[in-house]
Symmetry: C2
Subunit: 827 residues, 2 copies
């Protein structure tokens, strides 16, 4: 996959590489948090894994263990693709358009981050010699949650051709990618939907209403087409097309002049040339139980074109009736048709204009990183803007990787980023999580523990992980989830109970109390935990987990003290709060005196060293070595000790940060996309600014450059959010976990200026750093003045007067850390 990343707002693919269709399907996926569409080619083939997904739409399947055990989940869950309306197959003189054919003369796709659309241009030389141009433009509406729309235009530039477009809405044709060999799982997920009613034709299109067979989630999907023809292809366009066709596919430098493209609205445009009236297209719709296909066929001469606007409406729920969902889908569809393509596109752009005004990050000096970070922001927004009462999967709605499950890293990275960027979206996601508190209580009960134990992976809220050493043992997820709640409360200045957070904080505190043990030495321990690292498992006194539990206990105590009435309703009394404080104070944090570093867990630094230099071709490590070995070697997938330095920063002195970072940098292989952002933040904290910048690039480009080679399964949302933190908390040194927002700006040698926006306690802050220093301003009229700390100095910011601080020169305590051979930051 080679994408052009030279424009600050465009992600551009020129030509088409069939070997990386999967990752481009992910990169060009469009979504709004309610519905999402993979970036498949319009004609559906070739393809890697097509699919339209909706948040909360999943199927269950049996989980069979070759050697099971008590409390192992018996039902799995997998996000399944709903009725997919992405495909519009094209036949030119009866020959299907296929990008693998030598008839292809030109191919380009552009994701426009300001427009919020995926545009495509194809030139095709028919056997007759006719030259046909296809332009499509797709959007998943950020303003109308249930709406997707595609404007599809076929123009004949030379000669004449008969063109036939077949536009489908198809269910049960995009089985998810699964890693479970059990044939019952494949059988369940291959065609998970049953029709609740026969497919129904209506207007130029139709309606499908289906239900998953086991989980009983209902989905209504409706499609309507506005079809027209005209003879308005301008001479200049024709010339340009002919020139491009002559240049052929190799000329990838010839960028599309995007402003000459026709921006025609729905239906036939006003006829301007009386001389050459366009032919009528013949249109018909076929309906089957799992499929609605509308065909439009027309004979076109040079200068004529067929324009088809496809409107799609989706609605899904496991509670609403089929009738209600049908109404919702049709309402969305009707609205979309009424708005028309142009207005949909205008609203999309206007919405994004607002977004960029409030959330943009500017990076002068590195155009590739600039567009990458904007891409990340766009996808972060797209993952969450319309989500409601549903979990956000690790890949959002961009692919079926990880079966669409949500993990702790959503709360760990995505929610804190959304909290500072789109606090209302964060609130809705937190509301989903607190709404699953009863299920987490049930799980704790199964585990014979108190309080609530949140799942490692889930869609419904139930634990569905089938490998307990990396899930049930990873109890840190509870503290990570709790942290997202109190971060939100602290950053917004609003009560945690607004998002149902007090129950979460109380029940996670109770969980820790029931799990840890105070030894005769008076120190409180957590045994048998698996840490975020995942290459060290079932260990005792993991520093990250212990410190996060300590943090959880303290914050829970503080918030209960702050709202004693609400706390009392949850059965919390002064004794219980006192116990949380006492326990937090007693938390044991191992320290290796001999080596002068924190062991990631008790004993870690005495494990055998990993022979990195002899295993340079054995990555990812977990695919080449057995857990039984990895779990007790000094090799880290992601450095949770380093993450602890970020998330539990008050527990580390600067000298410890420097020593720990050096130690773990040398042993972290970063097989997880979660790691680079964390390393960026802490490297910057330790004044290794250029190294931080290198990690920030890796995090931001993880999908655009398919750094991990697994991009086909969907985008890495946590890394996407992490890359924003790599810039803001890394280069910017932002810390939002105390009463006053703190900044510690750095400027890597490659950049001349950074600028970003954050939402903080109801205000919008703009932070700009150049070699001359940092300016913090309140660009929005009416925002209240606020204090910020820059490099340990408290400054007052008012709408009238920005705060300014000089740029501090980095003064690292140690030399730049080194990484295992071949595991330096990539991008």
């Amino acid at each position: 996959m080679t994408l052009s990343l030279d424009d600050p707002w465009l992600v551009r693919e020129q030509g088409v590489d069939a070997s990386c269709l999967g990752s481009t399907e992910s990169v060009f996926a469009l979504a709004n948090g309610y519905v999402g569409m993979r970036g498949t080619l319009d004609e559906g083939d070739p393809r890697h894994a097509p699919g339209t997904f909706m948040s909360g739409v999943y199927e269950t399947h049996p989980l069979a263990y070759p050697e099971g055990g008590y409390g192992h989940p018996e039902e799995g869950e997998a996000m399944v693709g709903v009725a997919d309306g992405s495909a519009i197959r094209l036949l030119v003189d009866g020959v299907p358009l296929d990008v693998r054919s030598p008839a292809l003369q030109h191919h380009e796709r552009v994701l426009d981050l300001r427009a919020g659309t995926l545009e495509r241009e194809v030139l095709w030389r028919a056997a007759s010699g006719a030259l046909v141009r296809v332009r499509s433009n797709r959007l998943v509406s950020l303003t109308q949650c249930s709406v997707c729309a595609i404007r599809y235009e076929v123009a004949v530039l030379e000669g004449s051709a008969r063109v036939l477009a077949r536009s489908g809405l198809v269910v049960n044709e995009s089985p998810p990618e699964i890693e479970n060999d059990d044939p019952r799982v494949g059988a369940t997920l291959d065609a998970p939907f049953e029709a609740l009613a026969p497919g129904r034709e209506r207007a130029v299109g139709g309606l499908l209403v289906h239900q998953t067979r086991r989980s009983k989630v209902r989905v209504a999907a409706a499609v309507e087409h506005v079809v027209g023809t005209d003879s308005d292809v301008a001479a200049a366009e024709i010339e340009e097309g002919l020139a491009r066709a002559d240049a052929g596919l190799t000329d990838t430098d010839a960028a599309v002049d995007r402003d000459t493209g026709v921006r025609a609205g729905d239906g036939p445009p006003p006829v301007t040339q009386e001389a050459d009236p366009p032919p009528d297209a013949s249109v018909r719709t076929e309906v089957e139980p799992d499929r609605i296909v509308t065909s439009a066929v027309v004979d076109l001469r040079a200068g004529q074109r067929l324009v088809l606007v496809k409107h799609l409406g989706h609605a899904a729920s496991d509670e609403s009736s089929a009738d209600t969902l049908t109404e919702l889908a049709l309402a969305a569809l009707t609205d979309s048709v009424a708005l028309g393509w142009d207005e949909l596109a205008r609203r999309q752009r206007a919405f994004l204009d607002d977004f960029w005004r409030e959330c943009d990050v500017e990076l002068d000096g590195d155009p590739e990183l600039q567009v990458a970070v904007r891409y990340c922001l766009f996808q972060l927004l797209s993952s969450a803007v319309c989500i409601d009462d549903a979990p956000l999967g690790a890949k959002g709605l961009t692919g079926s990787g990880y079966s669409g499950h949500t993990f702790w890293d959503i709360e760990g990275f995505v929610l804190p980023a959304l909290t500072l960027l789109r606090p209302e979206a964060a609130a809705r996601l937190l509301g989903w999580r607190s709404g699953r508190l009863d299920l987490a209580r049930e799980r704790a009960d199964v585990l014979d523990l108190q309080g609530a134990s949140f799942p490692w992976r889930t869609i419904s809220g139930r634990e569905v992980s089938a490998y307990w050493p990396a899930s049930t043992a990873a109890m840190h997820v509870n503290a990570d989830i709790a942290r997202a709640f109190d971060h939100w409360s602290n950053a917004t200045g609003r009560p945690v109970e607004e998002v149902g957070g007090l129950g979460v904080l109380v029940e996670t505190a109770r969980l820790w109390i029931s799990m840890g043990n105070t030894d005769t030495d008076g120190r409180w321990h957590l045994f048998g935990m698996t840490d975020p690292d995942e290459y060290t498992g079932v260990v005792d006194d993991n520093v990250f987990t212990n410190l996060m539990a300590q943090r959880n206990l303290r914050v829970s105590a503080q918030l209960c003290e702050a709202d004693a009435q609400q706390a009392a309703r949850l059965g919390v009394d002064a004794d219980e709060i006192a116990r949380w404080h006492e326990t937090a104070d007693a938390v044991y944090v191992p320290w290796d005196e001999a080596r002068g570093v924190h062991p990631a867990n008790e004993g870690f630094t005495s494990y055998r060293e990993w022979r990195f230099s002899q295993k340079t071709d054995r990555y990812p490590v977990q695919e080449h070595s057995h857990y039984a070995k990895i779990y007790r070697r000094q090799v880290l997938k992601q450095a949770d000790l380093v993450q602890a330095i970020w998330w539990c920063r008050d527990a580390f002195t600067p000298e410890q940060v420097a020593a720990d970072l050096e130690y773990y940098e040398a042993r972290t292989v970063r097989d997880s996309s979660l790691s680079a952002a964390v390393q960026a933040v802490v490297c910057a904290q330790a004044d290794h600014v250029d190294l931080a910048y290198a990690y920030a690039r890796e995090a931001a480009l993880v999908d655009l450059r398919d750094v991990n080679g697994d991009g086909a399964k969907g985008l890495h949302l946590a890394s996407i959010a992490g890359s924003w933190f790599a810039i803001v908390a890394g280069l910017g040194g932002l810390r939002e976990d105390h009463e006053v927002l703190e900044l510690a700006p750095h400027l890597p040698s490659a950049l001349t200026r950074t600028a970003y926006r954050v939402h903080w306690r109801g205000r919008l802050l703009f932070v700009e750093t150049t070699a001359q220093g940092t300016t913090v301003s309140l660009p929005r009229a009416g925002d209240e003045p606020v204090d910020v700390v820059v490099d340990d100095r408290t400054l007052r910011v008012t709408p009238q007067e920005p705060a300014r601080a000089p740029l501090k020169q980095p003064a690292p305590l140690r030399a730049t850390p080194t990484q295992p051979a071949g595991r330096e930051p990539r991008a």
Copy 2:
């Protein structure tokens, strides 16, 4: 299941309890190590899990993981039942004999430990009023490995009846009990055999030749019947039968007078009463691909009987051709027919006479324990006497529990017992294991370790465990296996290389070297191990594992030094041996100074205590609590620290033994049948003699009293062997791991005398203990004199002069240990 255990040589069941058919099928299973037959009722129904098994006959199946990982075995293995000839269905006047029917008047089964046969007597009142007596007698020959035989007799005692016996040989009708939910596993194992040739009729019977579909193990099974009738039922027998029928099923006290039973040979006995010639039986055989059935039908009047002797020959191999196996099966069958039932039975008894002469244990004062220990010895012999180039499964050939896999406890308990009882059988089993060294080398390579890593569970020699925390992490199996080799060498006085042991010792030593790590403190650690306990997993510096590794390294070094030439051929030089010694000397053994006990592993004593009193109904613990919890709580399935006291006794002072035993007794729930014997041995060592005796009873009665409720799956061979150690190494204080055999005899208050025999360096020793003291003699003429240590005094024993020592009074250092509530020794 209520068995009468009041006769020193008989295990007797009176009546029949359909609710515990499974466990009686196991208890009454007969085997010889090559072939084994479950103790099913002759008529096949009702039944729990019928089956004839052969060692090394297994099928493979896919292992699917809901979340897999590198190095997880992809193929499972399961012992599958071969052609089963146990069934002889009987119809009396067209009505099938069924023990659930009110027509049943009397039912008794007796396993005779001197005869080596399972005898049965049934009285049946036909609808016509006729009284029919069925007597069957089964044996699996201990002298002719491929032979099983059943003598089946139907006599009419009153009235007249038409009797029809259908005797079958059936394949693919006894699917193993599996715990794997994957439907492919069930599908694979339900009918694992395909016919290599059509079933063949020959003589009065026939031949089946089959092959497992995936693993390609071939099995030939042949059957031949000798059928006859006579009118020789004695008047006394008739009278006795009538009386018994009148008494009915409730009169279980009316023991069979076993000496009045007819002991007729094959075929029609000489006719003694001219007056009433017996009718001819009509005999025919039906053949299908998976089934051969021979029917005999005859009208009998009072005093007449049908006698059918069924001879079975089995041969199996994954190497030999079908023709060869056919020849072997037919040869065995021909021989069996030629010998006839009486001679087969005579040889069986003669063989056992020899066995008891050399291996019997006598316990005066506890008749139940007396017969239980003899039962254990009988089943131990039966599991191993004919085994060759095949593994011994945890359940031998008595059931399909644990899929027929062999585990470390065979080497841990069964082999050391066989070494002292039947050293040649032990040698053959060791030979099988050393023959799998290359597969263990391959596994070590997969794990990126040096040397050889033996499987946790296997039939072929390949690792087939699907749950690595309790298998691959349980590296102690390698030391346990190594120990069986050097124990054998030490006890027999023969070179370890005779059983291929040097390679095993060298490669296991190399494994340890590649796995452990010397820390900066100079101490050598093993991290991430799972110990035999199984309720503590993936822990660091487990005392048992560390000490066993130390032992392994030392013994490997010593044996290489003793045979430098052979060692050199394995690439072992002086440097490597030196490294083994140094490493062994550096092994770290954790010690809890505050509590004055060994923690089972680093940190164990600081884990949360288990709330035993609140969980008295939650056993076995693993079925009521999650591993994530159990693994870091102070609850033990079996006390491996206590096992270390036995197996690595030189590492513990008497004070430590007393303190450790007290500590772990209070925390061991004995959910594993392996534990009681170990606790018996160490309780005796700590002079808690009556507690040791109670544990010995539990171990010896585990199957006869179905202590764990899982007897239906097959016998607990390790506990069977362990119960012998509980007597010999526990009450007798025998230790065989040093140069001189050591004894420390105890006499529990319930016993007045113990006596046992052991093979030691080519001699047969007889050890007898009464209140007056202990006598050690050499009963076999020609045995060389030998030294033994009794209670730390070295004594000389010659064939002429036994050694005598007074009985030492127990002087425990601490009070008798207590157990968790409800987990006291059971039986």
